[in-house]
């Protein structure tokens, strides 16, 4: 038998040295906009952040992977699903219609045989709604220490304050209360396309002579809609993370 040539041995070393060393810790995975988001910029793409690259950039993707429906006029919103760095994006062919409400879905990927398999985590699949209308809507009522606060579905507006500018009135256990000026709310670790895409405003219970510990529900009345919220004992970050489908990066994909 011949001696093992040097060149293949060097190549083995090269192959091994190039493999596995580029591993990076997976980042957070989430969808954006979160479920219930309003005031979404019409030209912004929808994002499914996967935590780590799952396919070569430019890979052809099943166009049914992300679908968007205009709930006001009905029908599909035409657009393109693109694989980016650690994310899938839905770019609408034309900007989303301003003032409309939309539903969007992330479907489990249908893999072509003999092709890259998109490892989309199961907890990122599902449906959500968003709106390009500027109105603020309550996402939840939270018990935060001695306060009862409402998480609003949009960022703090540059002018005016929430919810006064939205024509909403708030009742805590049947008594009208005011809401203090909202402050930005978000989830650490998420970098959405639009910074501060939610906000938090606490109820002025003291002014109304109400003990926060007794409040079970909050009623938000708007010109066209009424929301009856059950007070939850959790943080705004937790609520928003749930609506972003925020997950860790190491679970099995679909």
């Amino acid at each position: 038998m011949p001696h093992l040539p040097k060149a293949p041995a060097l190549l083995v070393a090269g192959v091994l040295s190039g493999a596995g060393c580029a591993e990076e810790d997976p980042g957070p995975r989430f969808v954006s906009p979160y479920d219930g988001r309003t005031d979404w910029p019409p030209e912004a793409p929808l994002q499914v952040q996967l935590g780590q690259p799952v396919a070569p950039e430019g890979t052809d993707v099943d166009p049914e992977l992300i679908t968007v429906v205009d709930l006001d006029v009905g029908g599909r919103v035409e657009g393109e699903v693109v694989v980016g760095d650690s994310a899938l994006w839905f770019y609408p062919d034309a900007p989303f219609e301003p003032g409309h409400r939309f539903a969007w879905s992330v479907a489990p990927p249908h893999d072509e045989a003999r092709s890259v398999h998109l490892a989309v985590p199961a907890d990122l699949t599902g449906s959500a709604t968003f709106s390009t209308a500027p109105a603020a809507e309550p996402l939840g009522a939270l018990s935060l220490g001695s306060d009862i606060c409402i998480v609003w579905s949009r960022a703090v507006p540059e002018e005016g304050q929430l919810p006064a500018g939205s024509g909403l009135s708030i009742h805590a256990d049947g008594l009208p209360v005011r809401v203090e000026p909202a402050i930005p709310a978000g989830v650490p670790g998420i970098e959405p396309l639009t910074p501060g895409d939610a906000s938090l405003g606490c109820l002025g219970l003291t002014d109304a002579g109400i003990d926060a510990a007794t409040i079970q529900g909050v009623r938000v009345e708007g010109p066209l809609q009424v929301w009856q919220l059950t007070v939850e004992d959790r943080s705004a970050e937790d609520l928003l993370a749930e609506r972003h489908r925020l997950g860790a990066g190491s679970e099995e994909g679909t």
């Binding site: 293949p8 192959v15 799952v54 052809d60 045989a113 003999r114 398999h117």
Partner: protein, 271 residues
Amino acid sequence: MISLAWIAMAFGQDAPWEESLPGEAVPTPTADQDRDRWGIQGSAIETIGGSTGVGAGIASVIGPDGGTTAYTARADVVWDRYKVSVGVPVALYRSPDGPRGGLGNLTASGSWLAPGPDPEWQVGAEVTLRTGQAYTWVNEAHQLWPSNGIDLVYLRRVGDGDLRGAVRTGVGIHAPSGWDPYPDVYARLNIAGLLEQRVADSVGLLGEASFTWWDVSPIDATAMFWAEPSEHLRVRSGFTFPVASWAGWQPARVPAGTRESTFRLELVARH
């Protein structure tokens, strides 16, 4: 004087010490000239022996899970007891946006052959070099999907005459682009065996079975026939059946069942 005369005659001949016979000279055969030009030629098993030549082939996966076709060009140069082979495939495969094409991986191998016109064994190294972006596969994991790697290969001929066979053992390491279902790096162990039967002067049959791990198609069975329309030309055709894939034993997420087979057609010209 006699010595001087002999020296003068000697300068007048090429080899004065050899006896010259009347008639046409017969050239002394060399190893290359005497070699079986086809050697033993498998599908997963590289040709053992053989002579210098070129070839082109199509391997097309047909069936519900098919849609990938690899077009391969290959050249072998054999000199004395050395053989160098180079091959490069081009793939046509389907994607959600329709058919897509791409260059596969360049494979280059260097082998050392046992002495004799029909080498008993052949040992060598095969290097896979990433040259394209064809994220697909036929029956071998490292042929199309972008990857680098090296395999050490030992081939042995078994038997002689019209019915003969060969075995292949190989071990290697590969570093593909680690997109699902491929790992970032994998070791590759391959064992294969074939039997070929010459049934007429220019027609023969080939049966081959191979086991490879890690691979996208771990167990394959191949049946082919060949015909030689001329002394230097051989046409081969047949099917590879991915037995393990049919049973659902493959790393890709595909359902079990006879959902694919690979049709092969090759044209080989040898010096």
